[in-house]
Amino acid sequence: MVLAVEAKELSVGYEESDELLWAVREVSFEVREGEAFCIVGESGSGKSTVASAIAGILPPHGVTDGELRVGGRVVVRGNERDYEGVRGRLVTYVPQSPGASLNPYLEIGDQFYYVLSSLYGLSRREAVEKARAYLRMAGLEPDAVLDRYPHELSGGMQQRAAIALALSTGARILVADEPTSSLDAHLRLQIVELLKRLRAEAGLTLIFITHDMLLAGALSERVAVMYAGRLVELGPTREVLRKPLHPYTSMLIESVPVLGVKRPLKAYTGEPPSPGEPSGGCPFYERCPFRLEVCASENPPAKEVGESRRVACWLF
């Protein structure tokens, strides 16, 4: 079984006003080829940083540790990073707001041209051919979109164009950061359907980041829950949602307002810690209703529980 992504004790940090803050701490997980994998977390969880690490877009002043493999190639080892031949070729990225990936000064057709000519040396005609194919795959009518500027398209169309552009690189691993957060609700369903279809048709490995548990449930096969830079739970999505093991996962599920179900919202006190706040023990200690003494001083390691499930909690 080939692993699309493999992370071993991966840590990523940033320098912020003279201090080194770790946004991701010792995270280990695997993503199989062709899988739909979701990383769930709130702000400060480090999920976007993990996505950036996989996609190869960590800022130059970032610091890393541990190991990360993408498509079988080592891209991060210790503080060394090498994404040559991986970034854009094996893995591609769709950011949260399509405005960030679409150049506002270029027509859509031109954007495809620049990407394809620099990656594969295609001529303009060839690039437009490919663009048409990918745009159609993304559910857009090429003639309606190729000559337009991004701001002339609606939000939903922009997102589809961004996805098409990302796919045109030929990469088989698609990393999407909050693919539906900036969209109106009725568009979300469409994008979810699109991503499902693309996975089936093109055999993509889909890794997406979200804070929306419902989205995770709808789109992913396996889910990883992150809190304050650490991986706290990992497993098949349906099972994790049905029977969460880590107290934080339970909290996430219990606090989500679900339409049509009017149970009282259970609100846990406190907030997720900001990145870099040092914590000796388990990061969830302050808010955990089940905390034990050991939780305050020692960070629980990830343990296998049952087949294919992992939890980092002293309760197990």
């Binding site: 609700a185 979300r188 369903l189 789109l219 999505t237 949602l241 307002p257 179900v261 609100a267 907030e271």
Partner: protein, 274 residues
């Protein structure tokens, strides 16, 4: 403290159409009128909880501006807290708006970075001519009501997290015991865990003050918890109206139906857990 005794509704809009003047083109000096709201009528009684459901481009922000006395509609009547607010000259409108509480969408833009939290929260009390000691008391009470510790009063906004900022804004909006509370996307900028806290907080405050509460949101699921009745806005027009439960159970308009359908993402999985 119940305000149900007052006869006039908190808000009453009848056939309101409003919009903006936009430059017609780069070369033209002419301006054209772009209509954003068309024939909107709604009514919010005293002590009632209403949700205005609308997505981007629905006109919900414009609707708030109209109610706040900031945008004169080209057609229709606007009565807020018993006053025809657009019959009052602009410089006097504060007499009505100071009886409202407004929580804007973006907390970063709603807090003056050079003022301490105590001064920010105390500002709505400016025109009330209260002695300093009473002002301080009210501020302290407001901070406690939003479940923040008193020490926060000495902070500058830069020391506050997103959730704390939102609470400070809510404290500011209720310190003067308003008759009407207007919330613009009160939970959109918050994490899931903080969202739940703020939702519960808003409800307990509304119950205590007995004020009318209007929450503008795009999130139907959140609206469920904040309102009994709802008005669905689509492209500047009210497409559906009524008790929120009913709208969710059997939406009548096409847009409302699409909206409710989009919330079916993965619900079965979560429902199983509940």
């Amino acid at each position: 403290m119940s305000r149900a005794g007052s006869s006039s509704p908190a808000i009453e809009l009848k056939g309101v159409s409003a919009g903006y003047l936009v430059a017609e083109g780069l070369k033209s000096l002419r301006r054209k009128y772009v209509e954003v709201l068309r024939g909107v009528s709604l009514r919010v009684g005293r002590g009632e909880r209403l949700a205005v459901i609308g997505e981007s481009g629905s006109g919900k922000t414009t609707l708030l501006k109209v109610v706040l006395g900031l945008l004169r509609p080209v057609k229709g009547d606007v009565v807020v807290l018993g006053h025809r607010i657009y019959d009052i000259p602009e410089r006097e409108r504060w007499k009505v708006t100071s009886r409202m509480g407004y929580v804007p969408q973006d907390p970063f833009r709603a807090l003056n970075p050079r003022l301490r939290v105590a001064d920010i929260v105390a500002e709505p009390l400016t025109r009330l001519r209260l002695p300093e000691s009473e002002k301080r008391e009210r501020v302290r009470a407001a901070i406690k009501m939003v479940q923040l510790h008193e020490s926060v009063l000495e902070y500058y906004p830069s020391r506050l997290s997103g959730g704390m900022m939102q609470r400070v804004l809510i404290a500011r909006a209720v310190v003067h015991e308003p008759e009407l509370l207007l919330l613009d996307e009160p939970t959109s900028a918050l994490d899931v865990s903080t969202q739940a806290q703020v939702i519960n907080l808003l409800n307990s405050i509304q119950e205590r003050l007995g004020c009318a509460m209007v929450a503008v949101t795009h999130d139907l699921a959140v609206a469920q918890y904040l309102a009994d009745r709802a008005v669905v806005l689509y492209r500047g027009v009210v497409v559906e109206e009524g008790p929120l439960d009913e709208i969710v159970r059997s939406p009548k308009s096409e847009h409302a139906r699409a909206l409710v359908a989009s919330y079916s993402l993965g619900s079965p999985a979560l429902l199983g857990n509940v």
